[in-house]
Amino acid sequence: MALKTEPFVINVGPQHPSTHGVFRMRLTLDGEVIVDVEPVLGYLHRGIEKLAEGRTYTQNIPFTDRLDYLASMSNNLAYVLAVEKLAGIPVPERAEYLRVIMAELQRIASHLVGVGAFLNDCGAFMTPLLYMFREREKILDLFEMVCGQRLTYNYMRIGGVSHDIPAEFLPALDRFVTTMPGFIDEYDQLLAENEILLARAKGVGILPEELAINISASGPVLRGSGVRWDIRKADPYSVYDRLEFDIPTGSVGDCYDRYWVRIQEMRQSVRIIRQAVEQLPPGEVRTEVPHLLHPPEGEAYGHIEAPKGELGFYLVSDNSIAPYRFHVRAPTLINLTALRDMMIGWKVADAVIIFGSIDICLAEVDR
């Protein structure tokens, strides 16, 4: 005789220590098993797309900083690429190499936060998070040396970057690049073979390959499922076609694969930075662009491989100083559409882990 039970709804509310931001999920539970998931978004909507229509192209650059605030350099880069495509502005070579160095450093910093927060959600009481933040502090010090801020950089400009690097940047970067692989090995020693992490994350929250492609997932979520797709190789922008690097790909598409892909991407970023520093040419860092830019009428889509996925900016111009339409293709919003399929059938404790392995930033989801 089976006991008659009833599913009940629990609200993993907007304020919760491990939804990375204000994200709300309504889980329908049958005992401990999740039966249905309903995500509720929009708690951090600020209307950036509408506000951007009232500001000139250069004034929009600080706004793009605040989209995914953990990876501001990448946001700046994607936007500036879109405007340069729209207006046909060339970029000097030194600026391209500097952009690559900054973007890869930013990728390492963003993955450190993503992996650290994921391990914190698994329960390791902030120890791996604090170790990773120590490395992130070093990267933020480097960024502060170049542009003066530690979180919202406003570094890229239309036609190049805003300032050249100071004299002490390259020795410090060299020191970072030499010591970072040792620290990544330490993270591996700490938790990559830990049986409890393997028990919690292997085989959990599988995203099958066809589903990942069908929902247009991108970034480590897509590569963890086994699809070798990276915009730096598939549609190279800036000077990525002159640099050599691998694309780490997972096999199954579970949480452990996504975690592993992020750690390997950090190693590949260190490799890219080394090559970019060797190939850095002298020259100027910014082409002359009029103070109020009037791009010709038309539309452009500029996309890059941001740490969280494919970040794209779609701009429509009507020959005035402000964009007519400014749309952000946020990678994490599109990756989140698979949340329900990934979570059903697992338990409450897995909900937090699966959610953490997608590595979202609410500011980008809600814009």
Binding site: R55, T58, Q59, N60, I61, P62, F63, D65, T127, Y131, R134, E137, K138, D141, L142, E144, M145, V146, C147, G148, Q149, T152, N154, S162, H163, P166, E168, A172, R175, F176, T178, T179, E186, Q189, L190, L191, A192, E193, N194, E195, I196, L198, A199, K202, G203, H291
Partner: protein, 164 residues
């Protein structure tokens, strides 16, 4: 899911944590020790050089937030006299576009960051509050001459020992 590594993964992790007991902590005890910020820091205030400013208001036009308010009147020698130059630091996002836009290098970002106030009205800086003077150190953001005179930034990287 099997218990694959016989408990050795756990032991390796614990050995690493134990090694960290003997490393020096990386935190700074804030009010007693302070780190030197970068030369190009976009600190928490603006510094205005009254002698060089001509009242062209390019800075006000390039601010994304619109937080600079400038009111001028014409003077005798075919110039503008700046009557009111007010910046609302509560709305400022410290992007530095105004400093980059100034054609006469009359506006600088500040170097100080300990500028908390108890009331929002006290954050609005007027002409006297913004003045360049002995106490208010401008930062070197987009101003190479000032950048050369500031001290070096403390880096966490300096504490790492690099094995040759």
């Amino acid at each position: 899911m099997k218990f694959e590594h016989y408990g050795i993964g756990v032991a390796k992790g614990m050995a690493l944590t134990f090694k960290h007991l003997f490393r020096k902590p990386i935190t700074t005890q804030y009010p007693e020790e302070r780190l030197t910020v970068s030369r190009r820091t976009r600190g928490n205030e603006l510094v205005w050089d009254k002698e060089r400013c001509t009242g062209c208001a390019t800075c006000a036009k390039s601010c994304p937030e619109g937080c600079i308010e400038i009111i001028t009147s014409t003077g005798e020698e075919n110039n503008y006299i700046v009557d009111k130059f007010e910046v609302d630091m509560g709305r400022c996002i410290f992007c530095g576009l105004c400093v980059e836009a100034c054609p006469f290098e009359a506006l600088f970002m500040g170097y100080a960051y300990e500028r908390a106030r108890y009331r929002r009205q006290e954050l609005v800086m007027d002409k006297e509050g913004l003045l360049l003077s002995g106490e208010r150190q401008p930062s070197g953001y987009a101003r190479p001459k000032i950048e050369a005179g500031l001290p070096r930034q403390t880096l966490l990287l300096d504490r790492d020992k690099v094995k040759k």
